[in-house]
């Protein structure tokens, strides 16, 4: 009876932790199998412990090249989407104008559309225009689908900003440009940073849209996809594990900095 009661009381905690385990299990597998020495081309069965792949992460031809392509595209897409998205977000929050509803829908729709639909329709456009598929078409597509997410992130931040801060700057002799640079931008920065981070993650990990519009250019997800058919090198797990660890360390470090600032304030 006591056990039943205990289970009842902690039901949410237990169920939540089960879900968390479900979410993390693949990452554990990826990490463990980055130390595998597989027989044959596929790395799905455990054979023996080895650090070969960790000592030579670029040992598979094309892997590090695709990683660099993905990083370049993600950086440029982040830059482009953040710039365009921030401008839109400011226009939407700070100004009244006609066609507002239409513009809001145009921004919402890409987020409510299956990727495969956007991917396929964009491909028809590129085919009709006779565009050469490759780096540039991928970049164009990535900026397109990251844009809406940046707008949403920045909009939320700008909306919670007290408009009196900008009025105060104007009252204190800052012209429109100075007001934007010295007050608006620094205060909106966390929202813009969040949007940029999201855009980077979305672009770096995108597969479906890239799959349609890449031509012969190979991004990292494209490389993984291809290797799923031909044979999965252990190095893929190494890269996946490394990215996971870097991300966690990055977040922990930024939290530590935040905590220290809070302590200084107190």
């Amino acid at each position: 009876m006591a056990v039943v009661n205990w289970l009842k009381r902690h039901f949410v905690v237990i169920a939540g932790l089960v879900t968390l385990a479900y979410l993390l299990l693949p990452n554990v597998v990826v990490t463990v199998f980055s130390f595998n020495r597989p027989k044959g081309r596929f790395n799905y069965e455990w054979q023996e412990f080895s650090t070969d792949a960790w000592r030579d992460p670029c040992g598979v031809s094309g892997l590090c090249g695709s990683l660099s392509v993905s990083l370049q595209i993600a950086l440029w897409a982040t830059l482009g989407a953040t710039l365009l998205g921030t401008l839109i977000a400011f226009a939407l929050v700070r100004y009244r104008f006609r066609a507002r509803g239409a513009i809001n829908s145009l921004i919402f729709l890409p987020m409510a559309m299956p990727e495969v639909v956007m991917a396929a329709s964009l491909l028809t456009l590129f085919l009709n225009m006779g565009a050469q598929l490759g780096f540039w078409t991928i970049l164009i597509a990535h900026i397109m689908f990251c844009l809406s997410f940046v707008v949403t992130a920045v909009k939320a931040r700008v909306m919670s900003m007290d408009p009196r801060l900008e009025q105060a700057a104007q009252d204190l002799y800052a012209g429109p440009v100075q007001t934007f640079l010295r007050v608006t931008l620094p205060i909106a920065a966390p929202g813009i940073a969040a949007g940029a981070l999201l855009a980077f993650a979305l672009s770096f990990d995108d597969f479906i849209i890239t799959n349609f519009n890449a031509g012969s250019t190979v991004t990292f997800p494209m490389f993984v996809w291809g290797s799923a058919q031909r044979g999965t090198p252990v190095q893929i797990n190494v890269i996946g594990t490394a990215m996971f660890v870097i991300a966690v360390l990055f977040v922990l470090a930024s939290m530590a900095v935040g905590n220290r600032r809070k302590k200084q304030k107190a």
């Binding site: 801060l165 105060a168 104007q170 009252d171 204190l172 012209g175 100075q178 010295r182 205060i187 304030k265």
Partner: protein, 389 residues
């Protein structure tokens, strides 16, 4: 340069704020009806009214944060109507302060100076922070300060620019009562010290009366009455002003005749005297007048001793409906045939134990304390007590 003559006139009214026919409409809603107002240089001027009365819009039009739909704003001789806020020699202390959260106190205060290209700001900022007693806090961020400290930073940030006019938008609204009293005196001291014109927006009538030399009472986008605090209090010209500043009792009466001391009025069965100078209603015989009297001007006497009341005082009879003891005074609510809920504040000098609910009493006051208003108005205008928050 202007001619010598112009310069002299400019010197005479160099810093007056003049609003001429200024108004603001949003679509079909009129926030401020065409308004003429002059704020003399060096005065402490208050715009008083309930929320939504147009006082903040008026202030923002002076600051340049709101474009007037019609009319002009002059600072001295200069027409500033078309100037954006960053080109006006006017600074604002914003409601809830609007301190820049990403800058420390020093940089907040230095903001205006830096924007005008002044390089060495350290000395001025330090002096200004000392004036508001915040020298120690220069390197803290706004959210690390208390409400009262933030308020002083906001004042310092505006004053350091030596504006021709300092605009204050409900500057004390976010402070608790005790701190508010303290800051009222503090602001008054600073104003006397720097001699700059202050235009202060508030919904708190007590705050306006404590601090300002001149008060404009606003209601529904119009200025109801303009004057010194004492003048507004003693001689309200509308029921709104009478109720919004303190509280008032009103008796509906009819003009009976003209006596030596003033108008003689009939109310219920009795007669009341109203000095003509204090009447703002029409004075035709038989005309209706609202007779007003402040609760603290009234004396309460038990009906048994009605004979001891001196001659020549206005008097009405009634029964005490409720009484509450609040220390310095006792407040009575008296039911009278001429006015259902007559309020009386009696100073706590010698309490008559017979004055309890149910007791028959006579209320009496000096006729000089009576004022007369146009009877077509709403008696309850301005009593919605959002003003007393």
């Amino acid at each position: 340069m202007k001619t010598t003559k112009d310069t002299t006139t400019a010197a005479a009214h160099g810093g007056d704020v003049r609003l001429s026919g200024i108004s603001k409409t949003y679509g079909s809603f009129t926030a401020v009806h065409p308004l003429d107002l002059t704020v003399p240089e060096g005065s402490f001027f208050a715009l008083l009214g309930a929320s939504g009365c147009g006082k903040t819009t008026t202030l923002r039009m002076i600051a340049g944060l709101e474009e007037p739909s019609a009319g002009t704003v002059h600072l001295g001789d200069q027409d500033v109507t078309a100037l954006p806020p960053y080109k006006r020699p006017v600074n604002t202390v914003f409601q809830s302060y609007a301190l820049f959260p990403h800058l420390d106190i020093f940089e907040n205060v230095a903001f205006g100076l830096r924007r005008r290209g002044i390089k060495s700001v350290k000395k001025q900022v330090d002096e200004m922070l000392d004036l508001v007693q915040l020298g120690e806090q220069a390197r803290k961020k706004p959210h690390q300060l208390s409400g009262g400290q933030q308020q002083r930073v906001a004042v310092a940030r505006a004053l350091i620019n030596h504006p021709k006019v300092l605009l204050l938008d409900e500057p004390l609204g976010a402070l608790d009562l005790k701190l508010r009293r303290q800051m009222q005196l503090e602001l008054k001291r600073i104003q006397t010290e720097v001699g700059i014109t202050f235009v202060h927006v508030t919904h708190d009538q007590e705050e306006a009366m404590t601090m300002a030399d001149q008060v404009a009472v606003m209601n529904a986008g119009r200025v109801e009455q303009l004057g010194s605090p004492a003048d507004l209090y003693e001689n309200p010209r509308t029921t709104f002003v009478a109720n919004f500043l303190g509280s008032s009792n009103f008796i509906e009466a009819e003009i009976d005749s003209r006596g030596g001391d003033g108008l003689v009025l009939k109310a219920g069965g009795g007669k009341l005297v109203l000095p003509e100078a204090r009447n703002s209603a029409s004075t035709t015989t038989g005309g209706k007048v609202l007779v007003g009297v402040r609760p603290e001007k009234i004396s309460v006497t038990h009906a048994d001793e009605a004979g001891e009341i001196p001659e020549g005082r206005n008097r009405i009879t009634g029964r005490i409906a409720d009484s509450s003891f609040i220390g310095v005074s006792t407040q009575y609510v008296v039911d009278s045939p001429v006015c259902p809920e007559f309020e009386v504040y009696a100073q706590n000098i010698a309490r008559d134990p017979r004055l309890v609910p149910g007791a028959e009493v006579v209320l009496h006051w000096n006729p000089a304390h009576t004022f007369g208003l146009d009877a077509t108005q709403d008696i309850d205008a301005g009593t919605e007590e959002e003003a007393a928050v």
